[in-house]
Point group: C2
Chain length 150, copies 2
DNA sequence: GTACATGCAAATTGTTTGCAAGTAT
DNA sequence: ATACTTGCAAACAATTTGCATGTAC
């Protein structure tokens, strides 16, 4: 459970990356960093912030997602159902439920993942930049639902 | 290096899954299983097979990709640049090059990956079905190109 | 003969782009 | 003052759908 980032923190983060802080960008970043145990879609964010910014454009959302991801402030994840965004967590595994589409993060000690990256990079003559481990299957809720239904 | 699957093998595979064997489906499956060290896009397949089937429709390609993936005969992978398809390999890591978009597979002993899956599943109360490990970065070629350019 | 696959065209979804006006630094 | 961002509408690409015809079983 990360402490909710204060506006001051967010301004600092953006400044540290040389990114102008617009109101929309701040809200977007705040929403993204507050995502707990998972990731959200661009449209989720668009709808959430539409209350606060009635004139918000999807283009702005996508623009900022790209900028923030490029700066490494958030994480972008490609799934069967489109892209998902969330906070950059420590080395972790994404559990992608094929039932409800939700993504849950499970933190994993670096050791195992680091070894994996190094070995794969060496064998593939590859200079690694980011690791993404996803396991698809059914979450507890959907498993229960599935066995109940048939 | 898997042996090139014979038509007889392919027919058997499809029959084993209760899937009618159309000429297009056979060619598609054959092409997919022959993909070496990586994955291809739906459009790659469409273009490749268009010589053989001048009237081939993209819809057919997508239909079959969905059917074959659902049957577990091929693997579907989601990337920044759209979906990619390829043979179902033993536990492996996908090296996704952000330079050229190519995907290379690196086989990894089960032990490490199995442990990862089990641990993550347990901690996330998740019933795992498929594992996908992707590392993004630059392949050897693109690394060279990058350091030469700038 | 029946169920499923094919091929076409049109529709849908997610995402990107061009540009005029506004805002942060 | 300058560079970057916003918002709108239009453009786009990848993928899906509906339906008539054709093919596997």
């Amino acid at each position: 459970m990360p402490p909710p980032p204060s506006t001051r923190d967010l301004l600092g983060l953006l400044a540290a990356h040389g990114l102008p802080a617009t109101t929309q960008r701040l809200s977007l970043l705040s929403a993204l960093l507050s995502v707990d145990e998972g990731h959200v879609s661009a449209d989720d964010l668009y709808r959430d912030l539409s209350d606060q910014f009635p004139t918000l454009s999807r283009a702005t959302v996508y623009n900022n997602l790209a900028v923030l991801a490029a700066a490494g402030l958030i994480e972008k994840l490609d799934t069967h159902e489109g892209s998902r965004y969330g906070p950059v967590a420590s080395p972790h595994v994404n559990l992608v439920c094929t039932g409800c589409g939700r993504i849950k993060d499970v933190l994993i000690g670096d050791a195992a993942l680091d070894a994996l990256v190094q070995r794969a990079s060496r064998e593939g003559q590859f200079s690694a930049r980011a690791l993404s481990v996803s396991i698809s299957g059914l979450c507890a809720t959907c498993t229960a639902k599935a066995s109940a239904t048939g």
